[in-house]
């Protein structure tokens, strides 16, 4: 990882319809491990916002705690960021959205953040159908605390210490579907061709849009048996006394057509088979979406793509009937009933 900002000009240095160049959507240099899939997701967010001609300062990027939740620093530097507490991004976003419905809310979370400590908040923000983009950068482990299994780690998969997870994993897409999310999708961090349109769709979706992005942890998703894994490297580095050495690895990317499968080799030597969704079915059927996820899962593959879309449900503001004007823009004169009404009120209390 280098901390020197590269000198070259961005290949996409042209400006969008609003006159912003892609630089206007970038953030600080990433301090994540080299080759981390999360950086690709950040890049996809940048690209999506650029292509949608959004005003960067009209975006709020909110996260919890974890590797994934660090990423808002690395995209949309002119947007307002809030790195809150572990698992609690949904409530902060809910409050922010209640205060001002006119901003775009991008919530970034990890699998530990969402599927464990923040499971309650995740469930309820879905249930409220908050108008936001909710992206989970899902790597099945806790990176910042060095690789413990998360609740999305597959049963039998071995974490940093090589103990296979004895528990079933939580499929966040299935959960989001069950809880009534209006848009549910899954993608792979290295597949920008698929991810960017999904993020754009999520931004345009009015209501809760969920994208679970499989984003392998280059540092901790190894198994003890893998000679190419982190464990092995560390064993051989101990002599130098470097404990936090993180092997430099390049980002995994894939590109393959809809309806097909692709097996992706992970840094630890394991393989991940992705199945890209083919859109020849009714996207508005929740039941069918769950079925497809389960069917593909039984084939030892991971289904990606848009799984469900329902634009008809009203968002939180619609459901609680808030005024069209953003609540944070209402003046005192519109909020304070004033002294005159108190006479009647006091009289009723006598």
């Amino acid at each position: 990882m280098t901390f020197i900002r590269p000198n070259f000009r961005h290949p996409e240095n042209h400006t969008n319809e609003r006159g912003f160049s892609i630089k206007n959507y970038e953030g600080a240099l990433s301090t994540l491990c080299a080759g981390c899939g999360h950086d690709s997701i950040s890049a996809s967010i940048i690209k999506s916002c650029f292509e949608l001609n959004l005003e960067p300062h009209k975006i709020a990027k909110i996260s919890g705690i974890g590797c994934s939740s660090k990423t808002p620093t690395y995209f949309l530097g002119k947007a307002h960021g809030f790195n809150s507490v572990h698992g609690r991004m949904p409530s902060v976003t809910t409050g922010a959205n209640m205060a001002n419905k006119d901003l775009l809310y991008i919530g970034v979370s990890g699998d530990g953040d969402t599927a464990s400590i923040g499971m309650g908040q995740f469930a309820h923000v879905v249930r409220r159908n908050l108008n936001m983009v909710y992206i989970v950068m899902n790597n099945g482990c806790y990176g910042l605390t060095k690789g413990q299994d998360s609740a999305t780690a597959d049963k039998g998969s071995a974490g940093k210490k090589g103990v296979p997870s004895p528990f079933d994993s939580i499929d966040l897409c299935e959960l989001a579907l069950q809880l009534g999310a209006g848009m549910v999708a899954r993608s792979f961090s290295g597949d920008k061709k698929q991810l960017v349109p999904l993020i754009k769709a999520a931004i345009k979706h009015n209501g809760f849009a969920f994208i679970d992005v499989v984003s392998p942890c280059v540092t901790f998703n190894n198994t003890p048996n893998s000679t190419k894994g982190y464990e092995w490297v560390r064993d051989h580095m101990e002599a130098t006394g470097t404990i936090d050495f993180i092997p430099h690895q390049s980002e995994i990317t894939v590109d393959y057509p809809e309806g097909s499968s692709r097996t992706v080799a992970m840094h630890d030597g394991s393989a991940l088979t992705l199945q890209k969704n083919q859109h020849d079915y009714d996207l508005s059927c929740r039941k069918e979406a769950i079925n497809r996820i389960e069917t593909v899962k039984m084939q030892q593959k991971i289904l990606t793509g848009l799984m469900y879309l329902n634009e008809s449900e009203s968002d939180t503001h619609g459901r609680i009937n808030t005024s069209d004007q953003a609540l944070n823009s209402l003046a005192q004169s519109e909020l304070c009933p004033g002294s005159t009404v108190l006479d009647a009120l006091n009289a009723s209390l006598r």
Binding site: G81, S91, V92, L103, N328, L335, C336, P337
Partner: protein, 616 residues
């Protein structure tokens, strides 16, 4: 019927305590409140306390009413008259009655043989029998039984019946067909008592004109109204006794005063999944420029602690109302205490301190709520209103709610678009430009180029950038202390009475009712100064008061003297000079308890000893 001549009965006009013993869920509350309302409307000062179980139905509940012409509204202790209509507690009620008191019971069933007290007056009225004669529906029989005993009391206390009639009429103004049956029930009791108990009761409630323009209100109702007047638009909350009615009141008043021309709400109330989410919503909304608040109780404060630390360190306004109850854990959820002081003042891990306000009446709940928002935004920090169950859930007689239309919300240091445009230098979210420890903030979305910042709980420099530089962290933490010192001059001043003695009394919150009554008695024999603390951090006047007195009695409704701990912690006073006077039974503190507790130190002999001891 006992003879009234064979014993010494309690007698008096407009000065006694009556307790109603009922069953939770039996509909007694409205009858008891009717009684209370009529006394108030008769111009006689009154205070009432609901002593209720933490379940919905079937367990005992008591309603304690103190009628007091002198205007003392604290709990007095002791019962002169008991309405015992709960079989479950009848034995206890019978024993709790003061000698010379009156025991009112449902005589449809004979009293058990062991009821042998000869020092009390029995008043048996066959409530069940009367109900069964007049009503066929079981529900009506139950409800009107309560109204019938109120009718009987109207006669026994020689009250003006027309006030009852007027109260019933106004209560059921929108359900006119209920007026007549209620008045009929009142008369059933009134007439029975008149026929059978002429002249047996020495307690009277006679019309006075002592209540002026005062109102009757619950503290939580006032706090909810305060949030409306303060311009709060977002409330995140999670139901917990005794705070729930704050949000219910906010909602009620919002629907009344805050709906726009299209029928849409100029407010958002989110019932969250838990307290963590409730305060998270507040933080998100406040960060985004809306006035936002939550209400909870001790267990909720525990759950909100991490977030409160985040708000403190990232400097986001939060208004939190802590309606305290008896802890720890779930303790006695329907009993009152002032035992969250330390938990609230220093909530969260790391170095944190939060601003606390201590209201003593519903009127203060209203004004301090408004003030909380100004302080939270002015200081960019959490502000916690420390109410309690007694204040929050009981109806208190208090001054009317007033509002000065010239008052402008203090939104604190917020840079708008124009100010950002004109900014000559780079704006720093955590720059102490004015030297008061309070930086300038921006509201997301304000400006296209300037003003965006990254809010984080992790260590940050003056420009909100992430840092692990220890010195930068330390500077930030020291600045927060400068802000804390600024807060000392922004919070409401303590109220001081007397400047005559070396002995002082320090009190706060709901203890005020009992303390002020006790002081009137104690001052008849002794010189005593007093200070009612209204906020934390303590203003300079609190520091001075403690410094200037050789002995200070610190009155609290908790076990460990939490206020005393805070004084020692913050004012570096000699702990020896602070004497804790503590009440922890979950019931509102009484004047008598204070007179007894403080009095023992104040007897001339002890007083002398104290003086010598502190002088040496």
């Amino acid at each position: 019927m006992n003879s009234t001549n064979s014993k010494k009965l309690i007698k008096g006009t407009n000065d006694f305590v009556i307790r109603f013993a009922n069953v939770n869920g039996s509909g007694s509350a409205s009858a008891n409140n009717l009684f209370s309302k009529v006394v108030f409307r008769s111009g006689v000062p009154i205070s009432s306390k609901n002593i209720f179980p933490s379940n919905i139905q079937g367990l005992p509940t008591w309603f304690e009413v103190r009628v007091n012409e002198a205007g003392y509204l604290g709990r007095r202790g002791g019962y002169d008259f008991i309405v015992a209509v709960n079989g479950q507690t009848m034995d206890r009620d019978y024993q709790d009655l003061l000698p010379g008191g009156y025991f009112f019971y449902d005589s449809s069933k004979r009293l058990p043989n062991h009821y042998q007290r000869t020092d009390i007056q029995l008043i048996g009225i066959p409530l069940t029998t009367i109900c069964n004669e007049h009503y066929t529906e079981p529900r009506l029989r139950q409800i009107f039984k309560n109204i019938i005993y109120v009718g009987a009391l109207a006669y026994l206390f020689d009250m003006d019946f027309s006030v009852f009639e007027a109260s019933i009429k106004s209560q059921f103004a929108k359900k006119a067909k209920l007026i007549e049956p209620n008045i009929k029930a009142l008369l059933l009791g009134y007439d029975y008592a008149k026929e059978h108990f002429t002249g047996c009761c020495g307690l009277n409630i006679h019309r006075r004109d002592l209540n002026g323009d005062q109102i009757q209100m619950e503290g939580n109702d006032a706090a909810g109204l305060g949030a409306v007047y303060a311009g709060a638009t977002v409330a995140g909350w999670y139901p917990i006794t005794p705070s729930t009615s704050v949000i219910e009141a906010f909602e009620k008043y919002c629907h009344k005063y805050r709906v726009d021309g299209d029928g849409k709400n100029k407010f958002a109330i989110i019932q969250a999944e838990d307290e963590l989410a409730a305060v998270g919503i507040v933080i998100g909304a406040s960060w985004n420029g809306a006035r936002s608040f939550t209400a909870t109780s001790g267990p909720g404060v525990s759950l909100m602690s991490e977030f409160l630390g985040l708000a403190y360190f990232s400097e986001i306004p939060v208004v939190l109302m802590d309606i305290q109850r008896t802890g720890p854990s779930t303790g006695m959820p329907t009993r009152t205490q002032q035992s969250d002081l330390l938990a609230a003042a220093y909530a969260s891990h790391g170095d944190t301190k939060h601003v606390l306000l201590f209201p003593s009446s519903p009127t203060e709940c209203f004004h301090m709520t408004v003030q909380s928002f100004d302080l939270a935004e002015g200081l960019q920090t959490p502000v916690i209103l420390m109410s309690d169950l007694d204040l929050g859930m009981n109806v208190h007689q208090c001054d009317p709610i007033t509002w000065d239309d010239a008052q402008i919300y203090d939104r604190g240091k917020v840079l708008n678009l124009q100010q950002l445009d004109e900014l000559p230098e780079r704006w720093g979210r955590y720059l102490d430009v004015d030297g008061d420890g309070i930086p300038y903030r921006t509201i997301p979305g304000t400006h296209s180029e300037k003003g965006a910042f990254f809010t984080r709980g992790s260590s940050h420099d003056e420009y909100a950038a992430y840092t692990e530089d220890g010195e930068v962290y330390a500077e930030g933490m020291q600045r927060l202390l400068i802000k804390w010192n600024t807060a000392k001059n922004m919070v409401p001043r303590a109220e001081i009475s007397g400047n005559v003695s070396e002995m002082g009394v320090l009190y706060f919150g709901t203890s005020a009712y009992a303390t002020e009554e006790a002081l009137d008695t104690l001052r008849q024999q002794n010189d005593l100064d007093a200070i009612r603390v209204k906020a934390f951090p303590f203003g300079p006047e609190v520091d001075e008061f403690v410094k200037e007195h050789k002995q200070v009695f610190v009155i609290e409704q908790n076990r460990d003297g939490q206020m005393k701990t805070m004084i020692i912690n913050e004012l570096s006073t000699n702990p020896e000079k602070l004497i804790s006077i503590l009440n922890i039974d979950g019931m509102p503190i009484t004047a008598q308890f204070l007179i007894d507790s403080i009095g023992q130190y104040l007897s001339p002999k002890t007083m002398q000893a104290v003086k010598q001891e502190t002088a040496s």
